[in-house]
Each structure stands twice: as C-alpha cells, then as structure tokens.
C-alpha cells in the first residue's frame, strides 16, 4: 500500500514537472533542456527513474520467483545493504567519472546482483522442498540463461571498452560481472545436481561429494579473480576498499570448502580402509534402520568398531563433522583395529552384533575350564535322558549331539538344568547347522559317527557351544543385578543404596563378557587362558539358575504397589541400555560413580533425559 502511494506520488510529481516545463517552453526540445538545467526537476526525474527500476524489479521477481520466502527476503535485504555501501565506496574511487550513465550502470549491476542472490537461494531451496513443480524448473532455467547471457554481454562490453579506451570504471564492471558469471555457473551446476537427484529413484550418495568439489573449484576461481582485481586496481588507481569485504568472505568460504574436502577425503579413506561393510546377516539381525537418516539399510552400509551400523553416505557426512560414533560417541579414530580382529575368525560375519548372548567370542576364559565347572556336571546326567531309546548308541549319543555345531548341542545342554527361555533365539546365529533329527534313535551308527567327529573343528564347536551358554548366564546375571539395584534404589529413594551398586559393579567387571581386549586375546591364542575370570564366572553361574526367571516379575511387583508407575519407564530404559551396551565390545565394565549417580537420579524419575545420560555414563569404555 505504501509503495503504491509512493509510486503514485512520484508519478504525479514527474507529470507536474514535465507539464510545468512544457507549459513554460511550449515546445519539446526547449522543455527537455529546461528540465535538465533545473536541479529540482532532475531530482524528481531521478526519483522517478529509481521507482521505475523498483517496479520493474518487482515485476521480474514476480515472473521468475513468484512469492519470495521470508528467509529469501531477509537475505536479499541484508546483502543489498552491504552492496549499496560498497557501491558508495566505489563512487569515491571513480569520482572523476561520476555521471548519470555511471550511476545507471551501477544501479543495473545491483539489480542483476540481487537476482543472482535470489536464484542462489531458490536453487538451495530445491533440497528442502518436497514438491518441485515444472514452473519452478522453467523459471530457474530461463533466469539462469538470462543472467548468464547478460553477464557475458557486460563482460564483453567492459573488455572492449578497456581495450579501446584504456582503463576506466569499466574495469570494475568487467570484474563484477565475471564474479557474477561464476556465481551463475555455480548455481547451474547445483541445479543440475539437484535435478538429477530429484529424478532418480534411489538416493544419490555421491551428490554431497560433487557439491563439495564444485564449491571448492568455484571458490578457487573467485579467489583468483579477486586477487587479480585488487592487484590491477592497486596498480592503476588506489586500494579498492569496496572489494575487501567480499574478498574476505570469498577467501573464508574457499578455506572452509578446502577443509571440508580434506575432512571428507579423510572420512572416505577411513571408511574404506578401517570399517568393514555390514553383511546382509548383520543387517537382518540388527534393527536395519540407519539412525542418521531413519531409512532402511539394504546395501552400502558400514559397521563401526562399536558394532553400530549406518549408511556409508550418512556416516561420511557425519565424519566430516565429528569422528565419533553417532550412537555411542566412541571415538572411531582411536580404536581402528578392534574390528580387524573381529573380522578374522571365520565365524565373525555371523556374529550378531547387538546381542551379547549370541556372540560366541565374548567369553574370556580357559575353554577347558568350562568342563570342570558344575554346569558341566549338571549336563552329564541329562544326556542319557535325551536319547533313551538309542540303546545301541548310548555311549555315542551325548558326544554326537554336540558335534555338528552348537545348534544341536544347545537343546541338550540348556533345557533341563537352566529352564530359561533364552535358548531359542540362539539358533539362527550359530555356525552352519546341518540340523539332524532330534530323535537320535532313528540315526544309523554311521551317521552318528560322522556327526561326532574327532577333528579339531568339532572339538572347537563343542567348546564354543559351552562358552555361549556361559555367556548367556553371565549376561543374565548382570542384567538381574542391575534390575535389583534399580529396584532397591527406587523403592527407598531418600537413602540411595550404595552397597548393592558397588557389589554389582565388582561382579559385573568380572562377569561382563564383552571386554574386547580379553576376548580378542582368547581368539588369537586359544591356548592362553584368562585364569582369573573363569572361576568367578563359575561361581556366579549356579546362582543364575535360581534367580533368573522370577526377578523381572518381582521387580514389577515391587514397583507397582508403590504407585510409582513412572519408574517402570526408567527400569525399562536401564534394561534396554544394558542389553545394548552388553553387545558393545567396547564396554569394559561399570563406572561406580556413575552408577551411584544414576541411583540418586532415579529419585527424580521424571527427569528422563538425565537418567538416560547417567545410564550411558555407567559404562566404562
């Protein structure tokens, strides 16, 4: 409304001035001369010209951009103020050339510049908008063509005039339009990349890299232009103050692009050399959603040393910023070798990363000590019961069932002495199971013989199987202890119960099987054993059989009567975190201080976020 009244006012003023001139001089030519000689009339005419430019700008904007977004408008305003001040600075250098033509050329330059900025913003917006219409493409393409050709024309004009008439203000224009031309080229490349990406069905992973390199090359060209321009200006005129601010920003952007490219290259290098691709089995086993982009992972995903899996492209862009695992903040540059050890054994790809119970490598102890432990004793009497009908094979049956792999052994060993339901998820992650019929009586002696096996691998499979059971038990004990501490803490809030927490911590450091260093050493040299671990583990194992199943029920029973239903949230959280963390090979035990803190904070259970943070602090990396 205001702009309309201003333009109407200016129009009336202009018509009054013209009418007045014509009224006084009666003829066309003398009235023109009269207007140009009279300063007030010229001022009115200038204002009118300015408003004409304004209006045509608005019309152009309507044609090429439609409605401007608020951010675009803010950008435009901010940049125009800088541009106007710099133009005024430029006037001081070329005050000898100051004439209406000069002002008009500068106005035109500003006018075109603003369209370049708008085009840049609009093309950047392509990545953000869910719907890109045909109109958008037509507008952007025609605008880019128009701007490009105008830039070219003005560069040529400036060149011609500098060649024929020597250095003048045209030098500035030539340089400014050259910069604008690089901007147009940059926008066009971005636009092309975005359109290709929009039209492809699958996400284009390398787009970010292409954009980075475009930025780098264009930055370099701009920096060269600016340096050359300043050098020429210093030689011919004086220091071009008006070019310093844009030059500074250009150099800064170039530096940033350069660092980005270096970081990106390093990230890609790390990704290709240090981390293995996630196998389809791992993807299936884990929740196969990439936490960075929240999309499913089918191919092109990497596994970090901490066993978290992400899209390669997502990881690359994250590693450009921080060299940590997004989920657990493990510094990935510091622990580059752990996964190599993981990958070495033949069975490694089958290891389900998130689940400690399935990991056959997490048990750090003397494999042969397993056989001396009470659970083996428990196992012995059970075995005849499994194959009672095999009268002729009574001697072979126990060994045979263990031989072909853990899959067969595990019902034998697990079911009767440890009646907990964890054994069934065991199956899918075990070594290749040629699952024999359950009823061993139906097998021929040859078949049993073959299953039994006396080779090293058979023996190893048996030991492995026993270890798995051990791990299951240990993990269960740790979980239950954690449950107990939390319950104890939450039922008596004012007196945080420190005693259970410390005892739990002591035990868990020995029982937590996921210590990467210990299990790796076991894998590397099966003969060398971690003597200190196993006896303690053996002591813990029997208690599991009694406490295992009832505890979760008890925990809930304790909580619900106290009407602290919210607390189940925390318990749940602890449980989830524990399960996740136990799967982390990077976890070496529990941090006593953080455990206490967690227990204290469980008084304020509404503070979910803090609780979450404390839980993650418990674990010592």
């Amino acid at each position: 409304m205001r702009s309309l009244s201003i333009s109407l006012l200016s129009l009336t003023l202009t018509s009054i001035v013209i009418a007045n001139a014509y009224y006084q001089k009666k003829q066309f030519y003398p009235s023109v001369v009269y207007i140009t000689k009279s300063n007030p009339s010229m001022a009115v005419i200038y204002i009118q010209a300015f408003i004409c430019v304004w209006i045509s700008g608005k019309i152009m904007r309507k044609i090429f951009f439609g409605q401007l977004r608020t951010t675009e408008f803010e950008h435009l305003m901010e940049r125009s103020w800088y541009a106007i001040t710099e133009t005024c600075l430029a006037f001081t250098v070329f005050r000898d050339d100051f004439n209406p033509k000069f002002v008009a050329l500068f106005t035109l330059l500003l006018f075109l510049k603003s369209f370049h900025w708008l085009a840049e913003d609009r093309v950047d917006y392509m990545e953000r908008s869910p719907v890109i219409s045909w109109l958008f493409h037509i507008r952007v393409l025609s605008l880019l063509l128009l701007l490009g050709s105008m830039d070219l024309h003005f560069i040529q004009h400036a060149y011609q005039s500098t060649i024929t008439k020597g250095a003048s203000v045209q030098l500035v224009f030539g340089f400014e339009y050259a910069i604008l031309l690089t901007v147009v080229i940059n926008i066009a490349i971005k636009y092309a990349l975005h359109s290709v990406d929009l039209n492809s069905e699958t996400p284009w992973d390398n787009k970010a890299v292409f954009l980075l390199y475009t930025e780098l090359v264009m930055g370099l060209i701009k920096v060269i232009f600016y340096v050359a321009f300043v050098a020429i200006m210093v030689r011919i005129y004086t220091l071009p103050l008006f070019a310093f601010r844009p030059m500074y920003y250009t150099i800064r952007n170039f530096k940033k692009a350069f660092i980005d490219v270096i970081l990106s290259r390093r990230a890609i290098h790390n990704m290709n050399t240090l981390y293995p691709d996630a196998t389809p089995e791992e993807l299936l086993a884990a929740d196969n959603v990439c936490i960075i982009c929240r999309e499913e992972m089918t191919t092109g995903s990497k596994k970090l040393p901490c066993n978290h899996i992400f899209h390669t492209a997502c990881l690359r862009s994250w590693f450009q910023r921080q060299q940590t695992c997004p989920t657990c903040r493990l510094n990935i540059l510091r622990t580059p070798t752990t996964n190599n050890n993981n990958a070495r054994p033949a069975q490694a790809p089958r290891v389900q990363p998130q689940n400690p119970f399935m990991n056959p490598f997490v048990f750090g102890g003397n494999p042969f000590q397993v056989f001396n432990q009470p659970n083996l004793g428990n196992m012995q009497p059970q075995q005849p019961a499994q194959a009672p009908q095999g009268d002729q094979n009574n001697q072979q049956a126990p060994a045979a069932s263990a031989a072909p792999g853990a899959a067969t052994t595990q019902p034998q060993v697990n079911i009767p002495p440890f009646p907990f339901p964890l054994n069934f998820p065991f199956l899918p992650f075990m070594p290749p199971p040629p699952i024999p019929p359950q009823d061993l009586a139906t097998l021929t002696p040859e078949e049993l013989q073959r299953m039994e096996g006396n080779e090293r691998e058979n023996v190893e499979a048996r030991i492995q199987c026993l270890r798995n059971i051990q791990v299951l038990l240990d993990a269960a004990v740790v979980m239950m202890q954690q449950y107990n501490t939390t319950v104890a803490a939450s039922t008596q809030p004012p007196q945080p119960n420190i005693q259970p927490s410390t005892s739990q911590t002591n035990k868990s450091t020995t029982t937590t099987p996921s210590s990467s260093s210990s299990h790796n050493s076991v894998i590397d040299s099966p003969g060398s054993s971690n003597q200190s671990d196993s006896p303690k583990v053996a002591k813990v194992a029997p208690t599991t059989t009694t406490t295992l199943n009832p505890i979760p029920e008890n925990a809930r029973a304790l909580i619900l009567p106290n009407q602290v239903l919210q607390k189940s949230w925390l318990l749940n959280r602890v449980n989830v975190q524990l399960t996740k963390r136990l799967g982390n090979a990077g976890c070496k035990g529990f941090n006593i201080k953080a455990t206490k803190k967690l227990i204290n904070s469980s008084n304020a259970l509404t503070d979910k976020d803090n609780a979450h943070m404390h839980i993650s602090d418990i674990f010592v990396k």
Binding site: E127, R128, E295, T324, D607, D609
Partner: protein, 162 residues
Amino acid sequence: MAGSALRRLMAEYKQLTLNPPEGIIAGPINEENFFEWEALITGPEGTCFEGGVFPAKLIFPPDYPLSPPKMQFTCEILCRWQSVYIYFTCSGDDPMGYESSAERWSPVQSVEKILLSVISMLAEPNDESGANVDAAKMWRESREEFNKIAEKIVRRTLGIPT
C-alpha cells in the same frame, strides 16, 4: 529423491503424527517448507507449569540431522535451564552455549527426543546452569513468587484471564 534432510524430517513428521508422544504436538508450519516447525508442549503434571500449553518454533539447518535445530519458545516462559544439546532461546536467555550444544549433538537425537527433554527440563530445572540468571535466582530464593509467575504464564497460554 529429495534431499536427505528433507526425507528425515518427513519421516520424523510421519512418526510424530502416527504415534504422537504424550504432551507433544509438532509439525511443519507449512508443508511446503519442512524446515520450520511449530511445536506445542504441555506443562508436565505436578509442576508449576501443569496444564499450560507452550508454543515453540523449531528451525532446522539445511544439514539436519548433522547439525542441531534451533528451538525458541514463542510464548513467555520462565527459563531456568539450558539445554544440553539444542540451541535454545527464549526471553532473557543467553545465546552462549550454542557451540557446546553443537558439539554434544548427535544425529541419533530427534524432534521427539528434544521436545521430551524440554518437558523434562520444565519438570526438573537444572539449577546449576540456569540460562536465565534472574529466573534461576528466583527459583532458588523465592519459590512462591516463581510459582505465582509460572501460574500466570500458564493461564496466559490458555487464554484465561489472570
């Protein structure tokens, strides 16, 4: 395919619409621009903010989720806290700490988690790093006055005359 930031925001929007967490409503102001959201947060029960509905604005950077969004309450609210991983502004807040919040940010976070943590901050103010020094002081020294002001704000957000 659209940009990855856009796809992620769309996924989060879908998730928030299909399974809205209690006490939170959030979504883009305009579905043509998924990078500016509006959120409504209800004051947690049992606190001085109980019953209030606090509107806030979320601005996402073009490289979300690699960089954190900015959040700003669009209503008057007493801030005694400072967020751990979001840049968080409201009247009287100091904008320092953005650097540290950007460092602590991880793409694992989401709009839902941010808003839940804001709710929990309303419930359990973090005395030690109060963003608004005056409000933190009032909280420590004259709780009654604080609660009175909080109630006034709650009534204002609900459009009830105070």
